[in-house]
């Protein structure tokens, strides 16, 4: 059973990484639902103000990209995020499970 689940893990990783590599080419450049809604219901001046506001903290790879690295940078950024989430969730699962034994 456990090895079957490991197989599923590898299949999951393969699919996630495949999506990560394809996403920069396939993802729509159109704004998302919330941004589109903001654009249509807020007046222009206020919208520009909100859009230009800096986030509370500075992110290393804003908008899933690496500055000046184009599509390759996007592939690297999204893949790095996918691997990070994989490790974090795996690690957290292990830690929480380990706590159970104590």
């Amino acid at each position: 059973m456990t090895s079957q689940n490991m197989k599923l893990l590898y299949a999951g990783i393969a699919i996630a990484l495949l999506i990560s590599v394809l996403a920069p080419f396939l993802a729509s450049p159109d704004p998302d639902g919330l941004e589109s809604a903001a654009e249509s219901v807020i007046d222009e001046e206020r919208f520009a103000e909100l859009e230009e506001a800096e986030p509370a903290i500075e992110s290393p790879m804003p908008d899933y990209s690496i500055e000046g690295q184009g599509k390759l940078g996007e592939i690297v950024a999204i893949s790095a995020g996918t691997i990070a989430i994989l490790l974090i969730s795996f690690g957290l699962g292990k830690v929480l499970k380990a706590n159970k034994a104590n």
Binding site: M1, T2, Q4, N5, L8, L9, A11, G12, I13, I15, A16, L17, I19, S20, A23, A27, S28, P29, D30, P31, D32, G33, L34, S36, A37, A38, S40, V41, I42, E49, L50, E51, A53, P55, A56, I57, E58, S59, M61, P62, D63, Y64, A77, I78, G81, T82, I83, A84, I85, L86, L87, I88, S89, F90, L92, G93, L96, K97, N99, K100
Partner: protein, 218 residues
């Protein structure tokens, strides 16, 4: 649907953190109770897959795009809405800190909308439909669609309280866009994923739900 920092005053952002935190805490408690060596790899694979698929915005027309949220999918597979809350919390944390997708101050609101609301609504609609012997694909599709739609409506209300959106136009715009995003981005993908997993590994989709019976498993 990720709210950026500038869209909400800090005081209100903190209120949503206060609402989201007990759910995050309970999702950790769920993991402590439910996680074992068999399920950890599945949790990790699902989390990674959901992060990746959230980077893939699908065009929905009207100059708008949308992506899957995935809380309902995770909740259905693990048989608990807290699984969805846990995965979305991790995904939103990394998205906010590393990729500036969704603000840090408003992360509580984003976890509430995408993790809690879409996970709980999605999961319990799925369960309700399954208990009426509705086909698993249809139940997954409708649950996931409704979860996304309701979380978009909640976001519109929050944006109105924040003074960022006017209430009625905000509801109409968010509702219209996410009605469609929910069909393609959430409902369809969830139904396909659940059908594929239920076929390949029926043991993974909690059988008390898939069979619509009262027997608990695992």
């Amino acid at each position: 649907m990720h709210i950026p920092d500038s869209f909400m005053p800090l005081s209100q952002a903190l209120v949503y953190w206060a609402i989201a935190l007990p759910f995050i805490f309970m999702s950790f408690r769920w993991a402590r109770r439910d996680m074992d060596d068999m399920k950890i790899p599945i949790l990790a694979a699902l989390s990674a897959g959901i992060f990746a698929i959230q980077a893939l915005n699908i065009p929905i027309g009207m100059g708008t795009s949308g992506h899957m949220v995935g809380a309902a999918l995770v909740a259905i597979i693990f048989g608990s809405p807290f699984a969805g809350v846990l995965v979305l919390t991790l995904v939103l944390l990394v998205q906010g800190i590393v990729f500036a997708d969704g603000g840090i101050t408003v992360m509580g609101a984003n976890i509430l909308n995408m993790g809690v609301i879409s996970g709980f609504i999605g999961y319990y609609s799925f369960v309700a439909l399954r208990s009426r012997k509705i086909d698993i694909k249809i139940a997954a599709f409708f649950g996931a669609w409704l979860g996304l739609f309701v979380s978009a409506i909640a976001t519109a209300v929050e944006m109105s309280i924040a003074g960022t959106f006017p209430l009625v136009p905000g509801l109409v715009a968010m509702g219209t866009f996410h009605f469609v995003i929910g069909i393609i981005g959430e409902g369809l993908i969830t139904a396909i994923a659940i059908a594929a997993i239920a076929k390949a590994r029926p043991d993974l989709v909690d059988s008390k739900i898939t069979e619509g019976s009262k027997e608990a498993t695992l």
